[in-house]
Symmetry: D2
Amino acid sequence: MYSFNNDYSEGAHPRILQALMETNLEQNNGYSLDRHTAHAAEQIRAEANCPAADVHILTGGTQTNSTVIAAALRPHQAVIAASTGHINVHETGAVEASGHKVLTRPTADGKLTPELIQEILDAHTDEHMVQPKMVYTSDSTEIGTLYTKSELEALSHCCHQNDLWLFLDGARLGAALTSPANDLTMADIAALTDVFYIGGTKNGALFGEALVIVNDALKADFRYLIKQRGAMLAKGWLLGIQFEELFRDRLFYDLAAHANRMAARLGDALTERGYEFAYPPQTNQLFPIFTDEMIRNLSKNFLFMPYQRIDEKHQSVRLVTSWATTDAGVEDFIRALDAEGIRR
Amino acid sequence: MYSFNNDYSEGAHPRILQALMETNLEQNNGYSLDRHTAHAAEQIRAEANCPAADVHILTGGTQTNSTVIAAALRPHQAVIAASTGHINVHETGAVEASGHKVLTRPTADGKLTPELIQEILDAHTDEHMVQPKMVYTSDSTEIGTLYTKSELEALSHCCHQNDLWLFLDGARLGAALTSPANDLTMADIAALTDVFYIGGTKNGALFGEALVIVNDALKADFRYLIKQRGAMLAKGWLLGIQFEELFRDRLFYDLAAHANRMAARLGDALTERGYEFAYPPQTNQLFPIFTDEMIRNLSKNFLFMPYQRIDEKHQSVRLVTSWATTDAGVEDFIRALDAEGIRR
Amino acid sequence: MYSFNNDYSEGAHPRILQALMETNLEQNNGYSLDRHTAHAAEQIRAEANCPAADVHILTGGTQTNSTVIAAALRPHQAVIAASTGHINVHETGAVEASGHKVLTRPTADGKLTPELIQEILDAHTDEHMVQPKMVYTSDSTEIGTLYTKSELEALSHCCHQNDLWLFLDGARLGAALTSPANDLTMADIAALTDVFYIGGTKNGALFGEALVIVNDALKADFRYLIKQRGAMLAKGWLLGIQFEELFRDRLFYDLAAHANRMAARLGDALTERGYEFAYPPQTNQLFPIFTDEMIRNLSKNFLFMPYQRIDEKHQSVRLVTSWATTDAGVEDFIRALDAEGIRR
Amino acid sequence: MYSFNNDYSEGAHPRILQALMETNLEQNNGYSLDRHTAHAAEQIRAEANCPAADVHILTGGTQTNSTVIAAALRPHQAVIAASTGHINVHETGAVEASGHKVLTRPTADGKLTPELIQEILDAHTDEHMVQPKMVYTSDSTEIGTLYTKSELEALSHCCHQNDLWLFLDGARLGAALTSPANDLTMADIAALTDVFYIGGTKNGALFGEALVIVNDALKADFRYLIKQRGAMLAKGWLLGIQFEELFRDRLFYDLAAHANRMAARLGDALTERGYEFAYPPQTNQLFPIFTDEMIRNLSKNFLFMPYQRIDEKHQSVRLVTSWATTDAGVEDFIRALDAEGIRR
């Protein structure tokens, strides 16, 4: 049984484990006030070309999203998201649990646009309604699509015009920045958003999301929020050491590029065999459309998630590759496709 | 300038004011632990034919909605509503402020159905998503429509099957129950819901919503919630006295019936003159469609709210009548319609 | 049975009821956007000599306290109060329900001092602890005592030095400002605090607390918070009309002065007869110490609250007078004291 | 520079790191739905002799505390703690951030008693006050003291009598259970509490607290709460693997016993030299009293925290040992004590 279930099915890249082993008996200050975290923050500021940014490394994505939003908004303020946005669907109401409404619009491709934001602004006009104050995006998105530079510039401009914070969830930022379809850099992201994060969990770390707060207005007392929300790891240097390693010799990009290459091999094989996709394959998440019978057959040897019913006989499924996906795994899957013959 | 802006533009029905005057210098226990409130509760239990219900009278609708929901739900649970539901749009995120997500579906007529509820249940399958646990409806709805008895029975059945509380916002319950199109009684409402309330603010009281908790599971410690949420009026007997009067000699129904009759006169006049409505006119809220020019003209002498743009030249507007609407006000409006001639 | 239970056992002063009657059939804009509320706000700004203040009138004290605190604080910030403070004891955790800790110190007389505040500041030094950001006081206090001008100046200075908001709960501000022991004016209160309110509920109104936001930093979007917290009354002009009347011809002060005079008569009678007080009698709340037997006897004809056990045989009780307390009520109580003979 | 600053200054015990290495490239289900976590839960249920308990492993203590409390309490309910309790002081108001008040009493030794609980119950009598519903204790406490079996039985009895949940924070449960002064077993803890947890972070794991929910009433939907609060680790098996190792061959107890032995060596050396302690030395936290000068001197070579000022010249300090504390570290410290000569 080989898993394409997600990009967090294995532990960490061996170099990261090695770094944790080597430093294991060091005595370090707790709560991320250690030298490894300080060094990782320096590396990230350099990579993002934002020397004044505050960097905090948290354990996971839901934690990071809800902490950023709780820290940024007053009680009557709301965050705008695509209806497929992770904060809207897959965080068990973590944003609402901190008191804030998520305002959503359906999208074709998981991406917000200035027009969608304007629609929401137009519908929220006075104190009987919540006040939109932040825009949440993700790159790559929950359905594997990418923002182009001009799209992100347009969003950024729209946010500035309307006094909205722009927050980019980069749980899969590695996959985005190393996609052949991408024209953004980490520095562009930092220049165009108020706050964003760089995902480690889905890109070769045991866990860890490096939050980069670019806008001064969002920096104050952030560590209080981290602590209050149970997101301050006692042995915080474990996070620092992992990001030190990810940003030494561009390991972060290499791992993501591997995931994308594995996905491209799968995607090409699917395309060659005439399969269609629910969303354009751009990063390490693919959403091919299979018959129910084929899903049953493939499920005997591969783990992956059904995503959405298309019609009576077809569903889209989600195949995810990662830094750890093996050539053998990909090749076995392609062979299994071939065994399906002309069934589709 | 005559106002059809809402049904809470005047003070209270004279009988209610009179009752407040007569009892003004009585010494009463505070916090709704007085004999008037106890008596009003008895009257309401009798009217609703639910002798075991708990009755609490709160000041306003948003307060009542968010207190009920906060009292009923655990942190991970959510409430289902029509996308036009008052709690979704017009309460500045009060439900989210207490930690709960509002799950919505668009509707044609402001009413939920078992099918819409099932859609939401189907989409919320595990602990990564909120857990739907309560259904919020309003009768009459925010757009003036009504639940029939069979519709409410279907909702009630669906809720029981799926272990969902059914909560009915009756801010305009009087208008619903006295509509010619209605086939529900107060006792039906009590039998089919877990908790509902009877609106006073929009039906002749200075303020006050009488909450009826039918289901034992929702009763425990409710006064703690009222107090915590700033909804416990020190001079609580003011609420009791108003509802005592509303449910003596059926004043509650008489006032609502008057509002509906005034709306019917306006509605008939509009229909006769060929105007169309965005939603079917059933209670004291009408949503006729006017040209922009006509809206400008009418606005010189009448207050009312634009509701939604229909096309380049037309908008629906909201006209609301109340217990206090005068014949003269209605007649002036009809005359003003006639003055518009054949413009539409 | 005559009640000295509290200062909110009767309805409203007849002039206030009269004003409500006279305006009853006026059509007014809802949600406090009416001319009466605007006029009352002008009167209050004039009385407090703070022409730039924002004035909002809310229904009750708990509602006002928790709305102010929720509007002012970020999630990790806390409010400092005397351990007897209303927000700490008698609001069912309303402040905590909005996410904020109340930091307390015991006091001898219900009043905070710079020294007590400093103790709390010294104990809260880093992000593992909440951040004190607001100081909550009440005048008169929950135990009937008063701040002198120099005491309030010292608090105000301490708050400015430490970047803390100073919030004064004036639910009984009338009783404070008309006490013979008082040397503060409404204008002093406005000059020395960031935000305060003027209680109507306990001083002759049906309900209503007029909040005065002096500091610009606390003004933004306050109406959103009022609405979200269920504190925006649909027929908001009812609040405006009551405060218009209270601040026409100094009715507000006259009513409070009456309450204080009635308390002074009771207090003098108690002192003459040798009774002791748990707290010095300064306003309309008295805390004499009685034997248990005497409490049983007096309770046959008078309502009042036991407050605290002093020793095996004695308790302090709370006697409260109001704008509505009658000479006859006071005289009956004094006669009842005499009937107790030399028992104490 | 050697650190006695806390018991989480180093990484993990080598056996734990080794287990993480060996399983690194396994593909596991995410979100703690893996076989390692299931196995660890079995081991813990066996050790605690509570086969029906639910076991969830979370990342850290603040997270665990606030998740348990948020899951257990309705909005108006409060948790009772010693004023030194971790939830009261060192979690940046995490409990209040989820809406609940922490009710506290000062204690001599960091431990609650039925008498202290009764005091709080007596002071919370009606709906104007929060409702105490849970008791929070820790063993060992924040000041290194222990509950005896009879003390915990008395607490447990008191909680049952008063319908209160008993929650035991076992962040340092290892140190408690291996103390020579201890007479409790893990099975006793499970029998006497409703919910407790077993700390890994402070006892040789990289991170991880194993929560054991004994009372059925607290089990429902707990994974929803974990997810909502950002406490569900994507690679949850990392937690499972660590606890599998801790409860294989009693490593958990061996590590804690080492920490206690190291503390006992320090404690004995201090006692022999005539030093006094602010709290009795029972586990791996010692609170000796030193002169300011001595603190300055020792701080040149050792890291430790000043705890509380005793008088003008003396402070208590906190010395903490751990599974990783070395003989050399302890011996160096004792030599440094000797170098201080007769100064104290």
